[in-house]
Amino acid sequence: MKYDALVIGAGIGGMESSLKLGDMGYKVLLVEKEASVGGRMILLSKVFPTLDCASCISGPKMSSTINHPNITTVTYGEVKTIRRDGDGRFHATVRQKARYVDPAACTGCQECEQVCTVAVPDEFNSDLVARRAAHIPFPQAVPKKAVITREGTSSCTDTCPAGIKAHGYVSLIRSGKYEEAFQLVLDATPLVGSLGRACYAPCEAECTRGDLEAPLPIRRLKRFIAERHYATHDGPGVQPGEPNGKSVAIVGSGPAGLTAAWQLARKGYRVKILDSAPEPGGFLRQAIPVYRLPQEVVEQDIRNVTALGVEIVTDTRVDDLQALEREGYDAVLLATGTPKATSLGVPGEETTAVVSGLDFLRDVRFAEAPDLEGKRVVIVGGGNVAMDAARSARRLGAVDTLVAYRRGREEMPAHVAEIEDAAKEGVRFEFLVSPVTVVVDASGNVTGLRCTRMKLGEPDASGRRRPEPIPGSEFVIKCDLVIPAIGLVPDTGPFDSHVAVSRNRGIQVDPKTLQSEVPWLFAAGDVVSGASDITHAVGQGRRAAHMIDRWLNGGELDGFEALDDRLAAIDKAKVLSRQKSYTHRDPVKLDVSHVPAPRDFAEIEPVLTEAEAHFAAGGCLDCGVCSECGQCVATCPANAIDLSQHEQTFEVDVGAVVVSTGFKLFAADAKPEYGWGKYPNVITGMQMDRLLAPTRPFNTVLRPSDGKVPDRIAYISCTGSRDKTVGNPLCSKICCMYSVKQNQLIMGALPLADVTMHYIDVRAAGKRYDEFYEESKELGAAYIKGRVAKVTEKPDGNLILHYEDIENGGGLAEAEYDMVVLAVGVQPNREVERLFEGEPLGLDEFAYVAEPNDDLNPGQTSIPGVFVAGTASGAKDIVDSITHAGAAVAQVAAHLEKAAHTLRVLKEVAR
C-alpha cells in the first residue's frame, strides 16, 4: 500500500496534520495506538482561556478525521518500524492489534461492558475509576466501537489440556455468577463434577498467584459450581442441536467418549456410545476410588449426556469396527482407553495373590474387593494408579501397605498431592527397588516379594535417570498380596486388522485431526496417547468431535480453536510487574481430614462454602486481563465479538512521515514528598480535569478518600517542571494555565469551596491568558507565591501543606486542605526512539524530538522527509500544537512536491 504521508499519533497535532494534508489532496495513513482518535485533548474538561468544552471542539475534528476521503485511520494500531529507502521514500511496518470486536458490526451499545466480569483501572479516567476488559474507551470515542483488553491467555487456561477456560469460570464466580460459571465449563465437557473432584489441576501448578502466597484452588472452585448446579437444576440446561440426520458411534464411555458425544449431540448428531463395562464412565467409574470421586457425581455428569438424547449401551464389547460402519454410522470414534495392565514379567506373577492395580481398583468399585483385614500388601509402581491402589488397600484393612518403586521419590510420576495424601494415610514407601520374583509357599500362597536394590544411571528417553540393579542386593519384602501398578496399555488387538497401531499399542491417528488411515474412523483419549489423565482425554474428545463434524460436512480438518488457536500465554513476570506490591491473602484452607488408618471410602475433601469460593476467586490476578468468560459474546446484540481474532501486520510505502506522538505526563510519585499514590486526596491536574469533565468518573468533584465534597482545595504548581531534582529544568508551559482554568471551573461547580494555588510564578503568556488569570483572582481564587516543601496527611484524610510564603515575610507556613492537586508537567514521549530503523531520529538534550532548524524551519527533524507536529517536540498548549501542526504540514507538502515523490507523480511516471 502506498500513501503520501504516514502520520503517527492522532492527538490534536496528528489529526490537524492529517486533515490539512488530506484537504490538500494527499493520501494519508494515520496510525493511533489507542482505540480512539483524539489524544489527550478529548479527555479535558474545558480549554483555557475560552472555557470552551474540550470534547465539543475536538469531537467534530475527530469525526472529520476518520471520515475524510483522503485519510485512512488505523486505531488500536502501532507503527513497528520505519526505514528510509534509497529513493528517499519510507517503508513502514504497521501492526493492527486485535480488538476482538468486529467494528463494522459493533453499534457501541455498551451492553458488553455491563456484563463483563473483569475490572481494571480506566486509563482514560487517570485510574480514578474502574473500566471493564470489554470497553468503549470513553463516551465520545471515535470510532465508538468496543475493544477487549487481552494481553495473552491466562496461565491457568493456557495450561488446561481440556481447553477449559479456567480464568473465565474463576472470574464468573468472583462476580457471583455461579450458574454461568458452570455453563462455561459445561461448554467444554459434561464432566464438570468429576473434574471438580478428580482433576489433577495442572492449572493450579501454573497459577500466577502461586508466585505470591499460593495458587487459587481452581479445581475446588469447579467442584463448588458443579455442586451448586446439581443441587438446584434438573438437567444440564442445554438443548441438543437440531437433528442433522447424521449419526456417530462412539466406542468407549470414558471422558474422551462422553465429551465427544456431548459435543456431537449439541451439533445435532445422533450419537450412540457402546461400552463393554457394566456401567458407563470408563475409569471415572471403574478405577478412581470413591473417596476421591463419588459415584453419584459421575452419574450426574453422565446424565448431562443422556439428557441430550445420547444412547449409552453397556455390556457390549465392540470388536468389529466395520460392522458399525455397515450399520450405517457416518463416523466411528474409538475411545477405549487403556484397559490392560502391564505385567511385571517376573516368576510367580501368575498366582491369584498377584492382582493388577487396575483389576484391584475395578473390584473395589464394583464391591468385589478382597478383605485385606490384617494383610500386608505391596504395591509395585510409582504412578497415580499405585497411589489409588495403596490408599484403597488401607481402607480395606491392610495392616501394612508398602509402595515399592524402582526410582526415587523425585522421579515418581504420581501427583505430588496424591503421594503426600498416601503418606498421611499410613502408606509406606520403599524407593530404588525392583521386583525379581513373587515368593510363593508350598501351598501356593504369596509370602513375599523378592526385590533387588537399584541405583540411578544415565537419563533415558523420558529424561529420567534409568534405574540399574545393584548386583547382590536382593532381599525379600514379606507380604500377602502383590499389586503391580506399573503401567496401562490400550487393548487394540481386535482392531489391528482394520487400522494401524503405533509402537505404544495405541491407534495411529493424525495428532491434529485424530483421524485414522480409515477416513470414517477417528480415535481419541488414552487409546491414542497412552495412559494420561481426564483433562487430556476430554481435550481429545472435544478435538475428535470437532474434526468429525468438519469431516462429515466436507470441511478442512482444522480450526479447533479451543486448543490450537489460543492467544500466546501471558508472561507471569509481566503480570506480577503490573503492581509494585501485593497485599497478602490467606489461602482458603484445605480442610481435608486425613486419618492414619482410614477404614471407609467416604469422601475426604469438603466442598468450599460460598463465602470461601467467592473469597478464593477474589484472589485472581486476571493474568490475561479478559478472562474469556464469554459473557460479552453471549450478550452482544450485534454478534460483534470474536475472541478468536488475531492481530495483523501490514507494510506501507510512504513519501513522508509526521511524528505527532504527543507527551507523557510527569509521574507524580517521583515527588514522594507530595504524597501522591500514598494519600488518597492528593491527585494530579489530569485527574482533576477528569473530575471536572462532563464524562467525569464521579458524580461531581469528590474527595477520593471518602467521597466528600471538598471545601478547601490547594494547587501545587510546577510539580515535576523547572525542577532539577527530578531531571527536568524545563517549564511545561501548560500547568499554570490549566490550574487557573480548573480554579475557575471548581469555583463554578462548588461555589462554597475555597481554591488556593501555591506557585513559583504564574506564566500566563498568550492571547487573553493574563486576563484569564486576573479574572480568576477576582472570582476569589487565592494565589500564594512560594514553593511547597511537603504534604502530610491527618487521620481524617485532610492534608497539611508546608510551604514558603514569600509575599508575607518569606517564612515557612502551614495550611490545611481537604484536597491537593499537583499541577504536573509534561515530559517527552520516548516511544519515538524505537520507531526508526538504521537512522535514529535526533532528539534534543531533553529527549524531545529535535527540530535542528526550529527558528527557520519548525517541524523539520534530523531525517529528511520526517517531520514533527505538536508536543512531541516540546511542551505546547492546544493552540500552539495546532499552529505547529500547520507548520509541519507545510513542510510535508513542500517535501513531497520537491522530491516529486507523490503518488500522483509516481502514477504519471508509470503511465
Binding site: 455491563q114 473483569v118 475490572a119 475509576v129 468472583r174 503492581q579 467467592h614 464521579f698 467521597g707 465534597v709
Partner: protein
C-alpha cells in the same frame, strides 16, 4: 480509615464487592463512609467500588449531598423489581 493498597488491586476486587455493597444498601441509600463501615472496608477503597458500580448503573446518587457534604448512593432496582444482590 485509608489504605495503601495499589489501585489495580482494589479495582480488581470490585466485582467481588458488588454483593456486599448492594446488601449494605438494601435498607436504603447511604454515604460512602456508611457503606464502608457496613462492609468493614476502608472508605477510600469503597469510593472506587461505589464509583465503578455507579458507572455501570448498579447504584445511583441522590440529588443533594448531606449537610456534612456526602452524597448518598442507592441501589438501582432492576426492571423485574429485584436488585443486583445475589
Amino acid at each position: 480509615m485509608s489504605t495503601t493498597r495499589e489501585v489495580r488491586e482494589i479495582i480488581r476486587e470490585e466485582p467481588l464487592m458488588h454483593g456486599d455493597i448492594l446488601r449494605a444498601l438494601s435498607d436504603g441509600p447511604h454515604t460512602v463512609p456508611e457503606i464502608a463501615s457496613a462492609i468493614g472496608k476502608p472508605s477510600d477503597e469503597t469510593v472506587f467500588w461505589v464509583m465503578g458500580m455507579r458507572r455501570y448503573g448498579m447504584v445511583v446518587e441522590l440529588a443533594e449531598p448531606t449537610d456534612e457534604g456526602f452524597f448518598q448512593y442507592a441501589a438501582v432496582k432492576k426492571a423485574d423489581g429485584e436488585d443486583e444482590a445475589r
